[in-house]
């Protein structure tokens, strides 16, 4: 009986650790949450297709509820200070696509995260399109680089400058 109890205790203790390892979102050396790490790397090839069948089994994407703190998340939800960068990180290619036309749900969602007011949304969308070549200067940027150049673009715009600090 005691063995069983120990297993229970061990499970309870081990679980959050397991999730951290699985999520590949453990805090990085700089104390951040590992944005840009493997979690969101572009998936391609046969492996994701096979994984796709498990659909239910993508361990890498499990955020456990009520499991405590891991790098970017608290009990499964993304910590508020990581929300925007995590979103950009997870949606870089779709964001690039949306910015190239100045529209789309990824861009709308980003505007919402930054807190762009309705009356400034059109200007924001247009600015990302006009400055596409600056924001996405090349095809292999880190999330930090995208954030930095997006900030520059906003700062240069008289109306949008107020949002520079919100990213």
């Amino acid at each position: 009986m005691l063995n069983k109890k120990l297993i229970v205790v061990a499970l309870v203790m081990a679980f959050p650790v397991g999730v951290m390892a699985a999520g590949a979102a453990a805090p990085d050396a700089s104390g951040g949450c590992g944005v840009g790490s493997k979690l969101f790397e572009n998936q391609r090839g046969v492996a994701p297709q096979v994984l796709a069948m498990t659909t239910n089994g993508m361990l890498g994407q499990i955020f456990a509820v009520s499991s405590g703190t891991s790098g970017c998340s608290q009990d499964g939800v993304v910590k508020s200070n990581w929300k925007t960068s995590m979103f950009i990180d997870g949606n870089k290619t779709k964001l690039a696509r949306d910015m190239s036309t100045g529209s789309g749900e990824t861009l709308e969602s980003l505007a919402k995260l930054i807190g762009i007011q309705d009356q400034h949304k059109a200007a924001f969308f247009q600015a990302t399109k006009d400055n596409f070549s600056r924001i996405f200067a090349s095809d292999n940027l880190t999330t930090d680089q995208v954030v930095a150049s997006l900030k520059q673009v906003l700062a240069a715009d008289s109306v949008l400058a107020q949002y520079t600090q919100s990213i």
Binding site: M1, K5, V8, V9, L11, V12, F15, P16, N42, Q43, R44, G45, V46, P48, Q49, V50, A52, T54, T55, N56, G57, M58, L59, Q61, I62, F63, A64, V65, S66, S67, G68, Q74, D75, G76, V77, V78, M86, F87, G90, N91, T93, K94, A96, R97, S100, T101, S103, G104, E105, E108, S109, K112, L113, K129, F132, S133, F136, S138, D139, N140
Partner: protein, 637 residues
Amino acid sequence: MPGRWILLFILLWQPLAVSAADNIYLKELVEQARQKNLAQRPEWLNLLHYKPYPYRPGMRSLADDPAFFNSPHGKTDAAAELESTLAVFFSTAEETDKTQNPQCRFIARYHWLKKELHFDPARLREQSCKRFDQWHAALDPYQITLVFPAAYLNNPASMYGHTLLRIDGKGQDERTRLLAYSISYAANTDETSGLVFAVRGLFGGYPGLFAITPYYIKVREYTDIENRDVWEYQLTLTPREIDRLLMHVWELGPIRFDYYFFDENCAYHLLSLLEVARPGLELTDRFRWWAIPSDTVRAVAEQPGLVKRVVYRPATATIIRRRLADMDDRQSGLSRGLAERKVSSTDDRLHGLPVAEQARVLELAYDYATYRSASGRDTTTTAQMHELLLARSRLEVPPQRPEVPVPVVRPDEGHKTSRLALGVGSRGGRRFEEINLRPTYHDLMDDDGGYTRGAQIEFFNMKWRHYRGDDSLHLEEFTPLNIVSLSPRDDFFTPVSWKVNVGWTRKHFSDNDEPLIFRAGGGSGLAFNMPGSHEGNSVYYGFLEAELDAGKQFDRNYAMGMGPALGWLTNISDRWRINLYARSLRYGLGDAHNARELTLEQRYSLNRQSALHLGLHRKQEFQDYRNAAEISLQYYY
């Protein structure tokens, strides 16, 4: 309570300070709970995930994790669990990052018992649950949505579809839905072999866990990578019901339920969450044996007033097809050239077009390049994809993304997944009656409204036949597994079609010798749309098939052969479909012989849940040729 379990509680939630005064109040509460028979109330049983045993009377919890229970008998004794749960609520343990006070750990139970027993805060102090409160605030719930990524052609295990719940936040709308969170129930495994997963999954070989994930990750997974159309059923749960659901999800946190591919799967467990949210909903009862995600969606949609609105989210491939439909060949050829690196984004043929058309060509090229790289053909580099976007961003025209029409039949509106057919026929001059039971799920001849066209998946198909003059009914066919993926190819999409089947069937050795033999078959091939038809309305196909027959009637107990099959599957009208095919197999190994078959199948839908089926066959096995015809009435239930 036995002493050793107190030890466990001390291990888990120290310090557990139960004073003498608490004990008196605890006794009162227990007494009250017994009088009200709370432990047998559906609300309590739902919170514990109690379900009847499939084979014998009685109930037990589906949770397989001792941490989910406060009583050692919690899995089978709901009353003991209730009383032990009341006891641990007296804990004054402070919440930490790794541990919680039992009132928070079992927050849904706490609030339900508090309401039923009118806890006296002076005698049972309410603990604050900061972690839960923060979590709840971060989710900012407004609405719960049942999300159904439909089947994904060419991937057998996804043909059933999948379900998850989404927590929609206040202030989100359809344009910013990516910011929501999803709740899914997942087998916790990094198994990459589909077959191993399927087999172990059948027998509960994996721990299943509830997980919460930003919805944008799920959208990526389903619509971008797997190319599955997604259906979102927004539910009418009230704020109170949503809170109950979230409290219960919190409670389930790291609790393990053994994952069973057929019954205790994602779809089943999500329904149980809805039952907790809205007492009185009875959604899981009908899924005692298996739970197909589309059936669980149907169960939800059939509940009066539970669904508010349905939103359709087309997959990348669906959007590409829509774009193609709006374009001429020259433009789409240009898009393909761009995506395949055969045409440069500075090409004159592109710049000669009006600006809006240039934008359409570039957008399609980018979508197609994305699709190609997601399916593993990385002929387009990210630098080239970046080129396409750069070129597109320079064009001053609004986005050219097409509106994808919502399919007329939703997944919950298609034919039901079990089918019973009664028929009569004649073979080689002998009349017969036939019963066909197909427990699940869909074949190529069924009406595919609400289903993925070209995806056949059948389990445990059984056919019994009675010939006139015979005394008895005999098993004609038993096919545990029969999957066909018929996906037409075109310039943009080049899938390989395939089929696989395993089962027992009658083989005609001679007129008086027609034993049941084992058969395993498979094949791969190509399918194409008939010129002028679209969306798989009329498809012709060719396969190379192989078959292994085994039985003691064969010389050397088996025969193995291969050969070609050709066919044409087409809709004559919305209700009427035909499939004409011919196969010729040369069994060269084992008991050498030939088998040939020419078949015309027709299905005419009477309504969504019934159809007439007519089959005409000419078959050769060994030497004899025989003709057969049968007509049956099919009923879906």
